[in-house]
Symmetry: C2
């Protein structure tokens, strides 16, 4: 019962003692609800209404009551249905920029940042899923892996034999994920973690929350938009029907990246009390110019991280344990595997050669090119 | 009383409620003894006897009883006196490589690493000293700064006016220090934290222990060896008397770096259970070659970190709060400031242009060159 005696509609989320998509054979500690509600509490003041409000958390039942989003749909399902949500990508970018910035040493002295880092570094069960399912299993033989077989057997064999010596790149990305703690991440920012209407966007399902490299969140969202793009022809009732929808999705990749950079740069430029790049160092216009260049350098590194993590996300969603409806909902395995093969080929380029993409426009061009391959 | 009823000599270290060199006006929480004894417990199994053994910790008194090192002297004092310790630099390198590796995700799954990261991220008081005294105060006006005045006033003014727009480099190094958590660091690895005899070396005084970038420890030690080098002429009773000693110190910088790389690379190449660069990715000789290149790339990044942190350490020891006896024990301010000026000029090169040094030999050549300037 909320204050004033009025009963408001709300959504309730309770942790299960196992991984939902795997069933009871894969136990999962209930404590992940603790990390999710804490993430919601920490991020809510900063994200400008772009997440559902947390109304109540019951630590005994590991259950949360949240604002009900009755009119919203999952962004992934909307994209599969051929719908467009003109503000979704920009809103996810704004959400990600504000939350990442607010929880970093850019915004705050290191002491409160370290206190949160300490807490979230204990989200072991969910971090273990990320480390195994994204950064390890797809590149070795593991019973949890699956793929469209036999059509993709050759790609999977090549990936695991590592004939092209590219396994060191996912290893590098995994090492960065575990050692670079720039901000509190959502940790699972795919298009299934975003609920939308034509005018509103909310980010949900933050049970993977942990400190990590900011590019990890960005890469997951970009990777999932790219999978939405590559899978579009699989949802056509006649050839070419989804061409414009595919092009529109690519524009959303671009909007997402540029909106993130714009929002994050604006926060960085403001006077702050954070220990990261202290504003006391920037007193003159010449210093402002020098630090603007330094910011550019930082965004260049973030861009490389983003592309790498996008590639890793695409690979693990096609040859690893957890697949996406974008491809899974395409019944014809010949059609599906052809689209998956193109996505995998492009993902490999993102992982192995992020330096070949100077700006996001190059990535879109590369995706178009990969998508038109036989 | 130790086991068997025999009383062994031991050293006792008890925390003071203030910063020793500053006096009671700068309070400091006693808990730092907790972090130091925990660091000793964690590192002892890995460091091959290169630290004093912890015999007892009294959490009520914040006091430690440690193995007595009655025959050892502080390395810094020995170098000032013109002594040589042929194994010291290599031993510090071995100690640093073994301890860093053992506490990283190279050696272990991330869960125990994250548990230690969580604990040591609470070493706030000592981390605050590092953030303020190394990465912030030397580059702004702060009452704690001091320098040989008036001789160095022009250098200090230039540093704080940042006429050459180089303040973004220390800012970048500080950001990396706070966000990159590769291993449990000693955190204050200068030549005053090393006790030596002709044949034995022990690393002491780890109250600054925290997770951070591995190059931070390496940079502090390299920076302090370089200060020992630049200060040698200040300890001569006749001109040129310390030239050979200076050259010998430079060879120790080289030995330190190469021994660290050799030890760390050997540990990395062995079969491990760590989540960082998993050994399951390296099954064939072609994969071994690819991962050897990736290791090289990692060491190249470590080298840049090492030079940057070495430069930051030199700058803060000459124009910041805490100075070194290497220079401080030179009574003549004209002589002292001349040597400090050369060290500062070289430190700036290390910070601003680490990319101009391909190998450690280039650094030694640069130090010789800077030392011969008027």
């Amino acid at each position: 019962m909320l204050s004033g005696g009025r009963l408001a509609a709300c959504g309730v989320k309770q942790s299960l003692p196992y991984v939902r998509v795997a069933g009871e054979s894969w136990p999962m500690p209930l404590e992940r609800a603790y990390f999710e509600q804490l993430y919601l509490r920490i991020s809510e003041p900063h994200v400008n209404g772009l997440a559902p409000r947390l109304l109540y958390y019951d630590p005994q039942r590991f259950a949360m009551a949240m604002e009900l989003l009755a009119d919203h749909v999952i962004l992934r399902r909307g994209l599969i249905a051929g719908e467009r949500y003109p503000t979704a990508a920009r809103s996810v970018a704004e959400y990600t920029a504000r939350r990442a910035f607010a929880t970093s040493v850019f915004a705050e002295p290191f002491e409160p940042v370290n206190a949160r880092l300490a807490t979230f570094s204990g989200n072991h069960a969910l971090l273990r899923i990320t480390v195994d399912l994204i950064f390890t299993h797809p590149y070795v033989v593991n019973e949890r892996n699956r793929w469209t077989t036999p059509q993709l057997d050759d790609v999977v064999t090549a990936l695991r034999a590592d004939g092209e010596n590219s396994r060191q790149r996912p290893a590098r990305l995994g090492y960065r994920f575990l050692t670079v703690h720039e901000a509190l991440l959502h940790g699972d920012l795919h298009t299934g973690s975003v609920m939308v209407t034509a005018t509103d966007t909310r980010v949900i399902d933050a049970e993977f929350a942990a400190y990590g490299p900011i590019g990890f969140d960005l890469g997951l969202f970009v990777g999932n938009l790219l999978m939405a793009y590559f899978s579009q022809p699989g949802h056509e009732s006649k050839t070419g029907e989804r061409s414009e929808q595919g092009e529109w999705i690519l524009t959303q990749v671009d909007e997402f990246w540029h909106e993130f950079v714009a929002k994050f740069a604006a926060l960085w430029s403001a006077t702050r009390v954070g220990d990261g790049y202290p504003t006391s160092f920037v007193a003159t216009s010449s210093e402002s110019q020098a630090f603007a260049l330094e910011r550019e350098r930082w965004f260049t590194g973030l861009f490389a991280d983003t592309l790498g993590y996008a590639g890793a996300e695409i690979i693990r969603r096609i040859v690893g344990f957890a697949h996406n409806l974008d491809f899974e909902s395409i019944d014809n395995p010949g059609l599906r595997s052809g689209l998956e093969r193109r996505a995998l080929a492009f993902a490999r380029k993102l992982i192995v050669g992020p330096q070949n993409f100077d700006v996001m426009g190059d990535v879109l061009e590369g995706a178009r090119d990969a998508s038109s391959q036989p």
